[in-house]
């Protein structure tokens, strides 16, 4: 058997043993935060948590990295979309986790805030796009309400690769301009800055970190994930990565080279408005979230 390339212990991934892998992972996340200036002095950081491996790991690691920074506040926020079996289980785990780690957790639900539940309305619709729009809307609204200056997501390198290709295939370059370790194109007080500390970490690496830290017990896949366009793109990229190792890293590295140009290009295109219904920043008179809610409420 081939031993760890750093200390000769038993390897768990890519010729690194458990302790060398954890050191590698945490060091790379620290570097990502530093290099892209994701966290600044006096930030009030809200971590968007699903109870899954990515967001639980990012919450845990930020707490660990910044435990001595008295100027920073780190709290967690979760959205209950109303997906039985899946979200229920994950939120149960998350509540326990936050209690153990002494982290404030805020939970908001589609049912209470929008008067709808995903399971009840999903039959004829595209579940992931509806869920994504509504979840982003509620997260931004509540992050502002809680005076957060940064909204952290557990998005990893695989997620970003998928988004880049999805936008490319749909000829939606503007949406790609919003990507990156710090999302968005325009600075507006209506947006809470989103940041992705796991931007350079592979999904498999995050899973290994979560497994080694004991956050993988509740792992289960969203029942609607299988029917999404993203799932097809994900499978395609994974097959390509197996055949041509390094594909994912190359996609992100080259995207980061063109991202500043994209952000500059789209900064002055299109007017930023505020939704007449809810006041959220958007590109039309009514935001996409309010349009979806109105449509769904008409159906019920």
């Amino acid at each position: 058997m081939v031993n760890c390339k750093r200390c000769k212990d038993k390897p768990v991934y890519n010729r690194l043993c458990k302790s060398c892998f954890l050191r590698y992972f945490e060091k790379k996340v620290r570097k990502t935060i530093r290099e892209f200036k994701l966290i600044e002095k006096n930030d009030k950081i809200l971590v968007a948590c699903s109870g899954g491996k990515d967001s639980t790991s990012v919450l845990y690691l930020l707490k660990k990295i910044f435990s001595k920074r008295k100027d920073l506040v780190i709290e967690a926020i979760a959205i209950d979309e109303g997906i039985k079996e899946y979200r229920d289980k994950n939120l149960k785990f998350l509540k326990k986790f936050c209690e153990k780690e002494d982290i404030n957790l805020y939970i908001y639900s589609f049912k209470k805030e929008f008067k709808i539940e995903l399971d009840a309305i999903i039959k004829d619709e595209k579940p992931c796009s509806i869920c994504g729009v509504l979840r982003r809307k509620l997260l931004n609204q509540m992050a502002k309400k809680l005076n957060a200056t940064k909204l952290v997501t557990g998005h990893n390198l695989d997620d970003e690769c998928q988004s880049i290709l999805m936008n490319q295939f749909r000829r939606d370059v503007k949406t790609s301009a919003r990507l990156g370790p710090k999302t968005g194109i325009l600075v507006d007080k209506g947006f809470v800055q989103r940041i992705k500390p796991f931007y350079l970490m592979l999904e498999k690496e995050v899973a290994i970190y979560a497994f080694l830290k004991g956050f993988m017990q509740q792992l289960n896949e969203c029942p609607y994930e299988k029917v999404s366009y993203r799932a097809d793109i994900r499978d395609m990229i994974n097959n390509f990565e197996q055949k041509y190792p390094g594909t994912k890293n190359s996609t992100i590295t080259s995207f980061l080279e063109i991202l500043p140009v994209l952000k500059k290009e789209y900064k002055n295109k299109g007017n930023l408005k505020h939704c007449k219904e809810c006041g959220e920043p958007c590109s039309q008179d009514i935001c996409q979230g309010c349009k979806i809610i109105q449509k769904l409420l008409r159906k019920t």
Binding site: M1, V2, K10, P11, V12, Y13, N14, R15, K18, S50, G52, K53, D54, S55, Y86, G154, H155, D159, L202, E203, K204, V206, A207, I208, F211, L212, M216, L219, N220, E221, C222, Y224, E225, R234, N238, N239, E241, Q242
Partner: protein
Amino acid sequence: MKVYIDRGNRNIEITKESVQDILFELKINPTTVLVSVNNKLVDINYKVKQEDKVEILSVISGG
């Protein structure tokens, strides 16, 4: 040896030795899974013994 896939949803008998061979036999892409042997994480070169409990866990989870 017994191989458990995704927390026992599938439980199959297999005779291959290395983790890499097992995944190949099952047509599973190694970039999408973690493999644990007797509850300990191992890399793909690990040689498995007949009495070992092998678990294959998907790394994919919807957000």
